[in-house]
Symmetry: C4
Subunit: 213 residues, 4 copies
Amino acid sequence: MARTETGRVEAFSDGVFAIAMTLLVLDLKVPHDLAPGQTLMGALVAEWPTFLAFVTSYATILIMWVNHHRLFAHIGRWDDRLLFSNGLLLFGVVVLPFTTSLVATYLDRPGHEAAAMVYNGIFVLIAVCYNVLWRSASRGGRLLGPDHDPDIVRQITDSYRWGPLIYAVVFVVGIASVTVSLLLNLALALYFALPSALAAHIARRGRSVPRTD
Amino acid sequence: MARTETGRVEAFSDGVFAIAMTLLVLDLKVPHDLAPGQTLMGALVAEWPTFLAFVTSYATILIMWVNHHRLFAHIGRWDDRLLFSNGLLLFGVVVLPFTTSLVATYLDRPGHEAAAMVYNGIFVLIAVCYNVLWRSASRGGRLLGPDHDPDIVRQITDSYRWGPLIYAVVFVVGIASVTVSLLLNLALALYFALPSALAAHIARRGRSVPRTD
Amino acid sequence: MARTETGRVEAFSDGVFAIAMTLLVLDLKVPHDLAPGQTLMGALVAEWPTFLAFVTSYATILIMWVNHHRLFAHIGRWDDRLLFSNGLLLFGVVVLPFTTSLVATYLDRPGHEAAAMVYNGIFVLIAVCYNVLWRSASRGGRLLGPDHDPDIVRQITDSYRWGPLIYAVVFVVGIASVTVSLLLNLALALYFALPSALAAHIARRGRSVPRTD
Amino acid sequence: MARTETGRVEAFSDGVFAIAMTLLVLDLKVPHDLAPGQTLMGALVAEWPTFLAFVTSYATILIMWVNHHRLFAHIGRWDDRLLFSNGLLLFGVVVLPFTTSLVATYLDRPGHEAAAMVYNGIFVLIAVCYNVLWRSASRGGRLLGPDHDPDIVRQITDSYRWGPLIYAVVFVVGIASVTVSLLLNLALALYFALPSALAAHIARRGRSVPRTD
């Protein structure tokens, strides 16, 4: 039952990730009144802050979803504490269409410091939630599957520790320049994506010796 | 088949919970015209009724989802009556983005009594639906799994009995003060979350003696 | 694999049903400017066409979802024809938030005949799609599970035959009076819900003799 | 575990497809102010670009979902590279409600070339992503299920190769006439749907000899 149950927590979380990711599109506005002499392509290019914020948030939610999957691949049981730390994490995800719209609107206007603080602050919150969720689940192997590998668990704990710190740095950068902080977030998403893809590629290659099962 | 089928009722319900929870964000509005001398942070703080209603509704939907899971962990079969009492319960959930927006708009304006009555009234309806659904499923063990524990069933029945009463009290309080009723709802969500997390923690500790399976 | 595959068609359809059902709420508008002397409750009551259309569409989608489940409980395999007749059926579902909004806006205004024709026309289309889907799946037992009961299959075929006719009658009624057609749709949803709930209750009672498994 | 895991990637993708498909409806606008002498039906007919774009995008997402299922029916394992090429593909899907709205708005106005380039360009991107995803999964049978048929794999590879080329042609056509490119997309969706439905019908008939399992 326990295994089925984490399946359901994951399905519910997947739903929230998928919906939040898709609702981001509602912030992309079709230009309705072109200024005289303005082309549609020009009007779209002028909306670049919205597109940059959209792409950054999309890439970040995708990374967060991949990480959520990675963690739950090791978690075999659940309790109410897990449900609620997961619920707090999803709160951060649900709020992203709003913070994305906020940062896109104020990127090149007075108020950009506040917008950046809200936008990047939510990422700090989410990074903290991932740590709380993982530590609460992994401490003493409390909620891990019966065949978990302590080395991998420690490795995950070590790597997640850096998340809040990294996003705190982006938070500080964002006060100086929103645009740079958006580009940093985008680079972080690509950075988290690429090496692990490479690592997985190598790991899988190592594993691809003929099996007898 | 029956077990698979409740799985599908749950998956459908999870979808509705996840979407309603995520649509709440559409009510968070990016301030577009700052008054002279107003900062963005000031404009956001001035939107506190919207954020309070958002957080309250999010926390309440999360609690309702956790409760939905708890009940269905005991339900092993379904019939049309269960589908329709569940459908009425989900009606209450679907309506929440509207009632949340209503209460946020009228929190500090004439009309707040009516807004509070609609907002808290839906919570009373949902609490009643949980009782109808559970009683219809558990009476005589009608739709429960083959290995249900009568003590736990009775315990659930007893604890759910208080739901409509508690939300009726919040309903009355809301007529006097919307804000207090929102804070009460938020406190209720935390209260339902925390003790059960503690209880689960204790229960799990008791269970964590070495097993031989 | 086949069984898993219909599971995925169902999961996808459940997603579309759940989202369409939840998006209906976006048409419920919070009254923003109360006329002098108007209360919020009065303003909400004046929105009754929107609420009537909302409740009718919600109840109808719920019934359609229950029917979708009933049919797929008998379908054990899929092919592309099933995917596409299901896709056309879901087209009708996806469109409902629009037709609901249309009928709510024009219920008491010139244009109500056209609005009713669009709204009820989609229901006729959906009823036809259910027949196409079921016949395509059940003819010769083509896609049914290995242990299907021919009597039940014929019984379903017979009862679904009436759907398009009934909704065609509602379509004609709607040209004379939208409101009556909405109430008819609501009554139909309740009618389809209640007897089957009773029937299931009786059937289950008959089955509830002690079992030895 | 691997098999379960692709199940989760599919479920997440199904969620994104279902939501994007359903959000398309938000672009169908209820006409609020009828011009003097204009009927509601006339006002709806005048919105034909929106309905054409809606139907085209709906049919295209449906086809893409069917294709996604077909590919994943052969994929038995996943790695990070698959997750990210799938994530890029879903980016194209998430963006469709925006590009659909854009092309509907500018279909009969200056700017239609740019709107068509954005709309059809996303389809080219998605067609490329399907190739990247499939090649990355199928090269050397890397992520395919243990019992994959090399002939079918090669056949899929061959047929998908034409996707980007076909959508590139539509892209060029769209610069000359948006409407023709929309109709071409719609015809492509029907073309992909119908023959495969026929082929599946024939294949299934061939397979329908009595089995002894």
